[in-house]
């Protein structure tokens, strides 16, 4: 069930009505939301609800075990087994084929070709997201950030809550579980935020992302050898905007839908293309994943506590695994590796500048301020173009396609085939919104929260109607569903 469909609209209407009708009996309300979440997930393939349940049980039982175990060695063993169990499930469904294909290529290379047990494995939607949430719960209980939850229904709802189930944001147990113990509340603020986020998410996904995907990004990445450099350049900008609008659009709708059910999710994107450094970019892009990787991978590896070399190694490993998390292909590994290396390089350069040319203390003159401004603009341009360069590998099916794409930048004489004024305008529009005030959405939500019901209905219904009217026909799946 996709968000921008009529069937989700009907589903949400029922869930909203039933869940708020049950607000006086929180236990039943949670059970209703849990049932709705399993129906939402089972809509794709009901057989995978068993997998979702198994992943939940691993986390739940490990939580209970950690609560009872007192010996540190035993606690470590429990957390280790639970994390390994979750990763085995993820590894089997997501990386089995990738691993065997890579092994077969390697053996072939050494002249040791073997028949390997290949299988057709369907990738369950959202497996990377709910696995990470399960791991987050177990590790948080182990670290004492959250108490083990005795109610199985609460843990099940935490891991399967439908707004974030299939494509995030990755919600932390410490953020969500306490909300399940509070009396559910809905205010005018929730309605304002929910309406604004749902409309902005639908517009980003259905209009901007879908037009850019079908109009330029898909055709230029399908065969980059038949288009000129102009189309390739605008094509990669288009993909950068498409993936942002697709993913942040999903996150917006998820956060908005959760708000209308009385729950608060943290922000997942914060105008990432205005970042002036790669480090800044990762503080703004897929915030729930980057903070997850920081807290559950980078810091346990040692973070920046064991000297410069170890810090670079940890940065690199974190981004390498982050790349692999996105997909079982070497192109994703390259994407993560490139980000890891550049983050390390950026850190190195920054530390050297601070050592040999430290920033001057005291008031800055006009020239100094102009210099800072110019430096910031260069930083934004450089970061955006580096990110675009890595998107080529992220989007390309194979390294061959990516190299063809890069080689195509040598052919500047070709006329534009796909980069029409309309599509270029959409890219410019999306980029302008990267530089608007950060709390624009909040202002809009504040503005509409006092609207009377008919006007709010006109805004919501009229907004959805206009989006449906101007969007291309059909509903494309969200990019991050495949991860």
């Amino acid at each position: 069930m996709l968000f921008p469909t009529l069937e989700f609209g009907i589903f949400f209407l029922i869930v909203f009505t039933v869940s708020w009708s049950l607000r006086w009996t929180p236990g039943f309300r949670k059970l209703a939301l849990l049932a709705a979440s399993y129906v939402f997930y089972g809509w794709w393939d009901w057989r995978f609800t068993g997998l979702l349940f198994a992943a939940t049980m691993i986390a739940y039982l490990a939580g209970l075990g950690l609560e009872r175990a007192e010996r540190p060695a035993l606690r470590k063993w429990i957390v280790g087994v639970a994390v390994a169990g979750s990763l085995v499930i993820l590894g089997f469904f997501k990386y089995y084929g990738f691993f065997l294909t890579s092994l077969a290529t390697l053996l072939d290379g050494f002249g040791l070709a073997r028949d390997l047990p290949f299988m057709q494995i369907i990738l369950p939607v959202g497996i990377s997201f709910f696995t990470f949430q399960g791991i987050s719960y177990v590790v948080d209980v182990y670290r004492g950030h959250v108490r083990a939850e005795r109610s199985l229904a609460d843990v099940m709802l935490y891991i399967s809550f439908f707004p974030q189930l299939v494509a995030g944001p990755i919600v932390r147990a410490a953020d969500f579980l306490p909300q399940l113990h509070e009396t559910p509340r809905l205010t005018r603020e929730h309605l304002g935020v929910g309406t604004v986020l749902i409309l902005s998410g639908l517009f980003k996904k259905m209009v901007i992302a879908n037009y850019l995907a079908t109009g330029i990004a898909d055709p230029v990445f399908f065969d980059p050898s038949v288009v000129g450099a102009g189309d390739l350049l605008i094509g990669v900008y288009a993909y950068a905007v498409q993936i942002y609008c697709d993913f942040s659009g999903y996150s917006d709708i998820a956060i908005g839908v959760a708000a209308l059910l009385g729950y608060r999710f943290l922000e997942n994107f914060n105008q990432p293309y205005r970042a002036a450094s790669l480090q800044d970019f990762w503080r703004r892009w897929h915030i729930s994943l980057s903070s997850w990787l920081r807290d559950y991978l980078y810091i346990p590896l040692g973070g920046s506590r064991h000297g410069e070399k170890a810090t670079y190694r940890n940065l690199f490993l974190t981004m390498f695994l982050g790349g692999l998390w996105h997909g079982a292909a070497w192109t994703f590994v390259f994407w993560g590796t490139a980000h890891g290396l550049m983050l390390g390089l950026e850190r190195f350069v920054k530390s050297r500048i601070e050592r040999y040319a430290p920033a001057q203390a005291g008031p800055r003159g006009v020239a100094g301020m102009l210099g800072d401004g110019a430096q910031h603009i260069v930083g934004v341009m450089w970061t955006f173009h580096f990110v675009c360069f890595t998107w080529i590998f992220f989007r390309a099916d194979t390294f061959g396609t990516a190299w063809t794409y890069l080689a195509g930048f040598g052919h500047w004489g070709e006329p534009l085939q796909y980069a029409t004024p309309f599509l270029t305008g959409l890219i410019v529009l999306a980029m302008i919104f990267q530089f608007t005030p950060g709390n624009l959405g909040r202002w809009l939500a504040q503005g509409i929260k006092h609207l009377p019901s008919p006007l709010l209905a006109l805004l919501l219904g009229g907004g959805i109607w206009i989006i449906w009217a101007i969007a291309p026909a059909g509903v494309a799946p969200f990019i991050y569903f495949q991860f």
Binding site: E7, Y211, P421, W465, I466, W468
Partner: protein, 144 residues
């Protein structure tokens, strides 16, 4: 209505003294917000049902074959037919046509639509405008 009944039952069971003023205020605020957004969703649904009935047809066409499904499909088509007859689907068709025109527009047509932009580009390049150049102005109709 269900909300009102539940409010009443809870108040009677718990008694006014059982809950603090703040809790009662929150409960009342939630009740109002739920009622408000329920109205908003139903009004939005009716708005879409009237003005976007083609979407309903697309949805019901995806149903499997069966007696109930067939009836729903027939109802969906009849509803859409009525909306078309009353001209309620025309705004969507008009917007789609505008969008198609916008999508099909090429760079040359854009220049023709906005002469100021053309002049600016020509000035930037230090060239005469397309209108002033009889050889180039004829190309405008053939280039997409």
């Amino acid at each position: 209505m269900l909300d009102l009944l539940q409010d009443f039952e809870t108040e009677v069971e718990g008694g006014w003294e059982a809950a603090s003023k703040a809790e009662l205020h929150q409960a009342e605020e939630t009740r109002r917000a739920v009622a408000r957004f329920t109205r908003v969703m139903w009004l939005s649904a009716f708005l879409l049902l009237f003005f976007n009935s083609a979407q309903l047809v697309t949805y019901v066409n995806g149903f499997e074959v069966g007696p109930v499904q067939d009836t729903v499909v027939a109802l969906g088509h009849t509803w859409d037919g009525q909306m078309r007859k009353n001209g309620l689907t025309e705004p969507v068709a008009a917007i789609r046509a505008e969008m198609d025109e916008l999508r099909a527009m090429g760079w040359e047509e854009l220049r023709a639509e906005f002469p100021a932009m053309e002049r600016a580009i020509a000035a930037f390049r230090g060239q005469p405008r397309v209108d002033d150049d009889p050889l180039r102005s004829g190309l405008r109709d053939t280039q997409g």
